[in-house]
Amino acid sequence: MTMPKKHSDLAINGDNAVALAWKQIDPDVCAAYPITPQTIIVEKFAEYIADGEVTTEFVCVESEHSALTLCTTSCSAGARTFTATASQGLAYMWEMLPITSSMRVPVIMAVANRAVSGPININNDHGDVMSARDCGWLTLFSENVQQAYDMSIIAPRIAEHPDVQLPCLVNLDGFILTHAIERMTPIDTQIVKKFVGEFKPMHPLLDVKHPVSHNLMDGPLFYFPHKYQMVQAMNNALKVAKDVFKEFAEISGREYHLVEEYMCEDAESIAIVLGSSFGTMKEAVDQLRREGMKVGVAMPRVFRPWPIEDLAKLMKGKKSVIVMDRHLSVGAYGPMFPEVCAAALENKDVPKMYNFIYGLGGADTMVSDFMSVFKDVKDGRATRINYLGVKQ
């Protein structure tokens, strides 16, 4: 691996890191509506536009529904298009989410994960993205500010690949990553530009020499097969993501995987978690290891497509698997739990499976809390579904 020259590190929050990645990519169009904790991304990016640092056409819209409608049509016209939102904003986009994906236009959207009202709450959990998970969007998670930046550069490469052609959600935890300043190593702008490359839209509407129609009425004859095409695209995205991660490692020295693992190889009990809690759980694992407990933690970097094979491999031979969900399908389980169970069924022996719901509406979850999760499982105090910290 040839390492590029070292760039000076930045002290930067997650939102500004995403805006920086966007600036380096210089997309054709951006439309967004402000909502905390996403606001800084678009505020900062609007500054770059005003200062003439990018050539992006920024469109002010009156709502998130209009934002995604505009982004979808602008991308289908042939423009590389980015947007960002959170919580109620993503909820307000919901009607358009499956349309963007079925139109097969690779819009990129940063999601500053925040609880969905109600009760009214603006703090971090995964209620927004989890409620959008069935909409056909590629979905990437980041553990820290560096990864929010890196995933913003990686996302268009996966989304725009001819074998994929699907929109992509880039998740970063609200406040924990969006507003907290961390140290980050950026990549040289010219290298980013070369890596991301030029957007080559398929059958764009503005190619007037080849007139096309998009988003037509699909009767029963075509609706199901078009959905199946998306299944194939998601399957392809697994390989594409792996290839793009490899290429990204060459320009950055940072290696990513469909499923990130920490101390899992010899672990008897592992936890599966998304987003910034992955970092907190690594610390919990370190401390428990010092106490002699064989534990590990993993994070599906790519949540859609669901990396079922890699997860099955990860869970093989484990005594117990703990699924940490920062969202709750009230009346059932956390959204990730049944999906991890389905992946576990790929193996002959299925570990004991536990679901912990944690941190809803920004409920603080510390290293000691995550340590108690592993201990509750080990000492037989855990039930199938557990609500971490809720006093009964």
């Binding site: 139109m103 236009v105 052609q165 096309v212 129609s213 004859l221 097969p225 078009h226 095409q229």
Partner: protein, 93 residues
């Protein structure tokens, strides 16, 4: 289950990538009633031709000569619009 296309035959996404082909989308099979024109009552005013949403009234030498069965949806607008009540919506064989 016969009414599902092979996904491999379809362009990616719900797109049509050539122009002017709505002619190929035959809406005629939606029909339960077909308009039958009584040529004796017809005064060739073309009201039905103006009103038909699918351009299914066939005109030849300034005269109404029939219905385009491949695309007529059987909506009955022509029969309603005809000032001479020359069109009857009729069940098909």
């Amino acid at each position: 289950m016969v009414n599902i296309a092979n996904y491999n035959d379809l362009v990616v996404g719900d797109r049509v990538i050539e122009a002017g082909n709505s002619e190929n989308f035959q809406t005629g099979d939606w029909r339960s009633l077909i308009p039958v024109i009584d040529i004796d009552k017809c005064i060739d005013c073309f009201t039905c031709w103006i009103y038909c949403p699918d351009d299914c009234i066939i005109i030849k030498d300034d005269m109404i000569v029939g219905i385009k069965a491949t695309h007529c949806k059987g909506c009955g607008i022509c029969a309603k619009a005809c000032p001479k009540k020359a069109i009857t919506m009729t069940p098909e064989e």
